[in-house]
């Protein structure tokens, strides 16, 4: 907001008609630079192709092949779920953001740990209740932001601290890794698809968690009345009020959805670790940062009202497969360091590109 110093003319910019006169190559470049999904698709092909090449030349410590790529999808699942959470709240506008997703993951993970690991609940019931707990925590954010008028950054910073502390307090800062919790690890096994031997085994969680959630989120934001309301309030919440859209309720629900998605991510993470860890969502820089990064990389505009599910998934794939390649390209912990570099550089570059395409008078998605 400090950079918007131009007094934009009220008249429309160069219109659509101008596009027709350009050469097809120029138009293709333009499309890739201004539309996020084709850009990500191109980048994805380049990254994967590059690492395949390096792998064939023997520069990598292990083969970068389709088996490896599919197994790397493990880390895509929680990342994408949280990026969807950020998609929904950022699209809802008015500085929407959710810094608390990591702490919700920790707290929900512990809740799931208690239910399955200590109280021996059936996994499915515990899963449903965990998602409900996540939604309730999200509702606290939603209440603060949508009804009480807290800036989202502040409200979710506060709940990031509060939920994180509750997660640590819940089980005396100790993980829950009893037998039933360890058994949950089976949710993350790989399965082979009945498509022949060419197709590698797929992590089960991609089929049971990621794909269904992606479809549901896509349907909700693109096909339902609620999705329309979400994009409307994110684009212009005063106009939304005049259009008889329940602005506050719609924004509130975005935070509830973010919480529910974080709750689901918590179950996946507990299953992956075979342990409910009280700090699972806040290790390192926390999980909010990578999730926000992927959402923004996927073309979600921080000002609200713009963002697509396909962009987020492609951005997630790009980051995960890039990270996977980086791990093979470096020895020891160097790889994880270069992952940080890749994430930061991608974020800044994609944001620069967003600003560039906005200046050219077209949206980023």
């Amino acid at each position: 907001m400090t950079t918007d110093t131009t007094t934009a003319p009220p008249e429309p910019g160069p219109g659509l008609a101008d596009r027709g006169r350009q050469s097809p190559i120029r138009r293709a470049i333009d499309l890739v630079l201004s539309e996020r999904v084709p850009l990500l698709a191109v980048l994805l092909v380049l990254v994967v192709g590059w690492f395949f090449l390096l792998s064939n030349q023997g520069y990598l410590v292990a083969p970068y092949d389709s088996d490896y790529l599919f197994s790397a999808l493990d880390s895509l699942v929680p990342l994408c779920l949280l990026a969807f959470a950020e998609l929904v709240v950022i699209v809802s506008g008015r500085g929407g953001i959710d810094l608390s997703v990591g702490s919700i993951v920790s707290l929900c993970g512990m809740a799931f740990g208690f239910m399955v690991g200590l109280w021996n609940w059936p996994v499915l019931a515990a899963l449903v209740v965990t998602v409900a707990v996540g939604a309730a925590l999200g509702a606290i954010n939603g209440l603060l932001v949508a009804y009480l008028g807290f800036p989202a950054l502040i409200a979710t910073l506060a709940t990031f601290y509060a939920f994180g502390a509750l997660a640590l307090l819940s089980h005396n800062n100790a993980p829950i890794s009893t037998k039933p919790i360890q058994d949950v690890h089976s949710l993350t096994r790989t399965v082979s698809l009945p498509l022949g031997d060419q197709v590698p085994d797929v992590p089960l969680q991609v089929l049971t968690f990621l794909l269904p959630v992606a479809v549901v989120v896509w349907l909700v934001v693109n096909r339902t009345a609620y999705g329309r309301k979400l994009y409307a309030i994110g684009t212009n919440d005063i106009a939304a009020r005049f259009a008889n859209i329940p602005v506050r309720r719609s924004r509130f629900l975005a935070y509830v959805a973010s919480g529910a998605l974080s709750g689901l991510a918590a179950v996946v993470i507990v299953a992956q670790f075979a342990s409910a860890r009280p700090d699972s969502g806040s290790v390192g820089n926390g999980m909010a940062l990578p999730a926000i990064t992927i959402a923004v990389l996927g073309g979600v505009a921080i000002v609200g009202g713009v963002g697509r599910v396909a962009g987020v998934i492609l951005a997630g794939l790009l980051v995960v497969w890039l990270n996977a390649g980086i791990l093979l390209a470096f020895e020891g912990s160097d790889g994880s360091q270069f992952q940080l570099f890749a994430l930061g550089a991608l974020l800044v570059l994609s944001a620069l590109l967003n600003a560039y395409s906005l200046r050219r008078g077209r949206g980023a998605g």
């Binding site: 907001m1 400090t2 502040i154 990031f160 509060a162 923004v296």
Partner: protein, 332 residues
């Protein structure tokens, strides 16, 4: 002449530009109450060593917070300060250990590194057309990467006590108060008067109120923006040196999570995250409150995790009170 004029507004209104505003007054009262209660309920709180520890541990948050206040007043934010502090620490720690750099040049080195990192943020925000939170999320990762590369996979051990004068030990105290805290106080005083009396300091507020109008008023928006981030970088450099303190060990995870504590201190101090309003005095008090709570929970033998819970609650209360006040003001 004024009285003779049939003016529109004849009602008297109290001027608002007072030195201490509502939020700061409230914080002082809360802090005083806390200190009183803690002095009574524990034997250890009101000891010079405990207070000295408290003030030393708060100093880096306060110092960075002073810069962060300026950034937030302009309507921005800088979440890269923790990673930035790590870069400063590893560079400076290695320099004083491996090249035996003395105090003054080492200090200059730390400040220079911090400044460069801050300027990078500022330039990206001012010229890149990117939202500050995105820019600094990006540089948070990049600076952390840089720091880890410089660490070369091991913590820096055997750091000499070049900076003991700013450290937490006895040699870093004057009149029983850590020099780092004196430094924070001096910086806060300078920044307070700068942001209050200097024209360019007032421009930060104008910028945070309405950047487009500020440009029309002839304020150099881009250079003022860069200045705020650069200054924060400079203070990150200083905070990094305070964190090295009496030397010893610099760990690879240095500075992680620092940004959120700093932002919490600023926000608790009454600075509006939407820009245009705030003061470093509040930030100092906010940092002190965070430090007091941390210290109190240790002394009372409570679970240390409660600290974070309290910080969260304090943020909500501070901002909530501010929201109510704003709403009342607007409803007049």
């Amino acid at each position: 002449m004024a009285a003779a004029n049939p003016g529109i507004a004849t009602r008297r209104r109290r001027p608002v530009a007072r030195a201490v505003e509502g939020q700061e007054l409230a914080l002082i009262i809360v802090l005083a109450a806390l200190w009183l209660i803690l002095s009574i309920s524990t034997d250890t709180f009101l000891t010079s060593s405990n207070l000295s520890n408290l003030l030393y541990s708060v100093a880096p948050i306060a110092i960075i917070g002073i810069g962060m206040t300026a950034v937030i007043v302009t309507g921005g934010i800088d979440v890269s300060v923790g990673s930035g502090a790590a870069v400063v620490m590893v560079v400076v720690a290695k320099a004083i250990r491996d090249s035996g750099l003395p105090l003054a040049p080492a200090l200059a080195l730390g400040l220079a590194v911090g400044l460069v990192l801050g300027v990078i943020n500022g330039v990206l925000v001012a010229y890149g057309g990117i939202h500050p939170i995105i820019v600094t999320f990006g540089t948070l990762n990049l600076y952390r990467f840089l720091a880890l590369r410089l660490f070369e996979n091991k913590q820096v051990t055997g750091v000499p006590d070049t900076f003991s004068v700013l450290g937490g030990g006895k040699s870093g105290e004057t009149l029983g108060v850590p020099n780092a805290w004196w430094l924070a106080l001096v910086l806060a005083a300078v920044m307070w008067s700068y942001m209050r009396y200097w024209a360019t300091g007032r421009h930060w507020y104008a910028l945070g109120n309405d950047a487009a109008a500020a440009r029309l008023a002839g304020i150099r928006v881009k250079s003022r923006t860069i200045a705020a981030y650069a200054l924060t970088g400079l203070f990150v450099g200083l905070a990094g040196i305070v964190l090295i303190g009496s030397g010893g060990l610099v760990q690879q995870n240095a500075g992680t999570g620092l940004e959120l504590r700093v932002i919490a201190a600023v926000v608790i101090g009454g600075t509006s995250i939407l820009g245009g309003r705030g003061s470093v005095l509040g930030t100092l008090l906010g940092a002190l409150l965070v430090g007091t709570v941390t210290s109190a929970i240790t002394l009372l033998g409570w679970r240390s995790e409660l600290t974070e819970l309290f910080i969260g609650v304090f943020i909500l209360v501070a901002v909530g009170v501010d929201l109510v006040r704003e709403r009342r003001r607007r409803a007049r």
